[in-house]
């Protein structure tokens, strides 16, 4: 059904640590690999080895440069469906193929009833839905619904393929509706945020902000990070040097 559930029992989602992500594309590749063989498979490609390759992917990793000059930073930025709490991608669907599950909050497309009108992709501000030209239906992140409850695979694998694949541990999966879950705790500790909250779809996935390091020359870059209070240089040159060395070595900053 295209109506949204009043409330969901869980808010399953991802927490993505922008401080750790190195932009290696392992999550995107692993996602494609699993989902081209899993639920709503395959994810078709066109001209994959030619000059104009394209295809349906459920996860995309951008790289941005943020800030100016010496204080600027490269931020690798994975982007997939955020399993919003109140998304219009569900309510605009004329067939009921786009739906949000009451039991865990996952937003899915039913590949058996989708007519491929693409309206849901127009309603998503995050560009998270990709149309499959061969299949004629819409594709999107399923939060690996065919892994997380799958008792035929080893327990360690019962997490989304992207989380399993990430070599740096930049991705975590869990119930963001439960304040005591590991993901909720890390969000609370690190000041995790949702994308484009101003828009009002209440995205569930959270992003942990990049920590700011030191600009060359040892000056702290303006924005204090949530952990900055742990280092309190009193201002002398030697103190600043120690503080700098401490942060650089511990990688905390």
């Amino acid at each position: 059904m295209t109506s949204l559930p009043e409330k969901t029992n869980k808010k399953l989602g991802l927490v993505i640590d922008l401080d750790i992500c190195v932009g290696c594309q392992a999550c995107a590749t692993s996602c494609k690999e699993w989902n081209t063989g899993g639920y709503s498979a395959p994810l078709s490609d066109h001209d994959p080895y030619g000059a104009d390759p394209s295809g349906a992917w459920l996860n995309r990793v951008h790289s941005y440069e943020v800030g100016e000059g010496a204080g600027s930073k490269t931020v690798h930025f994975p982007r997939s469906c955020l399993h919003c709490e109140e998304p219009d991608c569900v309510t605009v669907c004329p067939t009921g193929a786009s739906y949000k599950r009451e039991e865990d909050g996952i937003v899915l497309v039913n590949p058996e009833t989708c007519i491929g009108c693409k309206l849901c992709s127009w309603a998503c501000p995050y560009g998270a839905r990709e149309y499959d030209y061969d299949d004629g239906v819409m594709k999107k992140c399923t939060l690996c619904v065919d892994r997380i409850y799958n008792e035929t695979i080893p327990e360690v694998d019962r997490i989304p393929a992207c989380v399993r694949a990430c070599p740096t541990g930049a991705r975590a999966f869990g119930d963001l509706g439960d304040p005591n879950s590991d993901v909720s705790k890390s969000v609370a500790k690190r000041g995790g945020y949702g994308l484009l909250e101003e828009f009002g779809y209440k995205p569930v996935n959270r992003y942990l902000p990049p920590r700011m390091g030191l600009a060359p020359g040892g000056d702290r870059v303006e924005t204090p990070s949530p952990t900055a209070s742990t280092v309190k240089p009193n201002g002398s040159a030697i103190e600043r040097l120690f503080a700098w060395a401490d942060q650089a070595l511990s990688g905390k900053a």
Binding site: R60, V75, R79, Y126, L195, L196
Partner: protein, 315 residues
Amino acid sequence: MHPAYSVILFTTASGAGYGLLFWLSVMHLLGVAPDGRWLLFVAIAVALALVTIGLLASTLHLGRPERAVGAFSQWRTSWLSREGVAAVATYVPSGLLALMWLLGFGSGVVSALLALLAAVGAVVTVYCTGMIYASLRTIRQWNLELVPAGYLAMAAATGALLFGFLLALFGHAPSWAATLSLLGLGVGAALKVYYWQTIDADEGQYTSEMATGLGHLGQVKPLDPPHTRPNFVMREMGYEVARKHAHKLRRLVLACLFAVPALLLLALLTVGGSGAMAFYFLAIGFAAVGVFVERWLFFAEAEHVSMLFYGKQRA
């Protein structure tokens, strides 16, 4: 937004069809429409043919047209579904009306009732079409009350022109028909100009810094794209028309859809009757080009919020 020709054809053809159905029904209801059996039947048949061509064209852009009946199920939340329901519902009174007129039952209480239902159905359906776009908050050029109003006005104007032409075809050229078209064109032009001013004045409230949540660290610029060639999202949502080009096309719309047909109608009103068919024919030719370009622009000028992730600064 990528302007899909099937959707342009659908909205313009069915818009004109519903416009014609509306005026025909209203004028019949008011007892102003001439009572000729063939005139009434041909007019309603043309209206239904245009609506049907439009609806069939709209299924062309579906990935799975064979499942289209499922689209009638979610009218509680989806404007696209509501449009489908309204379109089918409108076929019932208008189809019966066509049958009655074909069989030579001119006017009466029954035809008046059916005409009323057909007129209401036409308005509701076109309103739903407009709301499909207006309900999308992701596109600020669409998320406006002006959008359904514009769809209704364009349908009314093009439908009135068709109605005038069909009346002329059967030897009637009442001045009220030309006046009706003129009014339709005037309202349409005013709304369109106001719409363009409105979208030009709104530079967008969302930024790439808000989209990524990285604004506190400085300006966000794309460094490496996530894919080497445009994906579906970029092709569908990232279509952009150069501002200069768009402004040229806007002038073309003003000329073809409004100014030229209006001048032709004014000329018709002054010289009167005999050449009415030719005047309408020309006016419809220009208006058809105009409304097609108008609809193309409606898509091409629409900017999608998701492009903030792909280097757009504001949307």
